[in-house]
């Protein structure tokens, strides 16, 4: 049973528009969430995170929103650029547990020029 779900395997967006990547989780013990970006044949790199005490965290073009009641988070990229084309993984951690992240299966974002 997947505790972290990224239901959209792929997303196509035009350059300059907003990209919205979604992630849902089922475990109410998760209290820290991360987004990673992965290019082909490379390791994932950390992008942005959010603690459950917040509902929004912003870093440049990237903003993560957390809706705890819905157990949903989203990553917004504005404006999208072709270099943003990659696979994005959502991950969740329970700080009261083992600190091992649970990853979603990823969403492949393609930004068209």
């Amino acid at each position: 049973d997947q505790q972290v779900k990224q239901n959209s395997p792929s997303l196509s967006v035009q350059e300059g528009r907003i990209s919205i990547l979604n992630c849902d989780y089922t475990n109410s013990m998760f209290d820290y969430f991360l987004w990673y970006k992965k290019y082909p044949a490379e390791g994932p790199t950390f992008l942005i995170s959010i603690s459950s005490i917040k509902d929004k965290n912003e870093d440049g073009r990237f903003t993560v929103f957390l809706n705890k009641s819905a157990k949903h988070l989203s990553l917004h990229i504005v404006p999208s650029q072709p270099g943003d084309s990659a696979v994005y993984f959502c991950a969740a951690i329970s700080s009261g547990g083992s600190y091992i992240p649970t990853f979603g299966r990823g969403t492949s974002l393609i930004v068209h020029p």
């Binding site: 990224q6 991360l34 950390f46 979603g104 990823g106």
Partner: protein
Amino acid sequence: SQTIHQWPATLVQPVGSPLSLECTVEGTSNPNLYWYRQAAGRGLQLLFYSVGIGQISSEVPQNLSASRPQDRQFILSSKKLLLSDSGFYLCAWQDEASTDTQYFGPGTRLTVL
């Protein structure tokens, strides 16, 4: 600053042959270490994690094993590879004192023929 190394970058091995992938971390002490596999079309599957020398936890039963002979060295092994072992193998480290980010190595592309 901390760095993580993996080698080899690519590997082609026949079915039934042994495997040894190595991961080393620099610039930190007593990190949590992880081995993941990303198979085609799937997310990041946690294989093993280690919180200290000689301490290995297995998440998925299979013909792979892991060892941590030194604080900052993590090795993934197999005595006999299967076709299904093909994939992209990622090593990651995490600060043992926090629920923070994992930092991934560049990965090893393993093809079993």
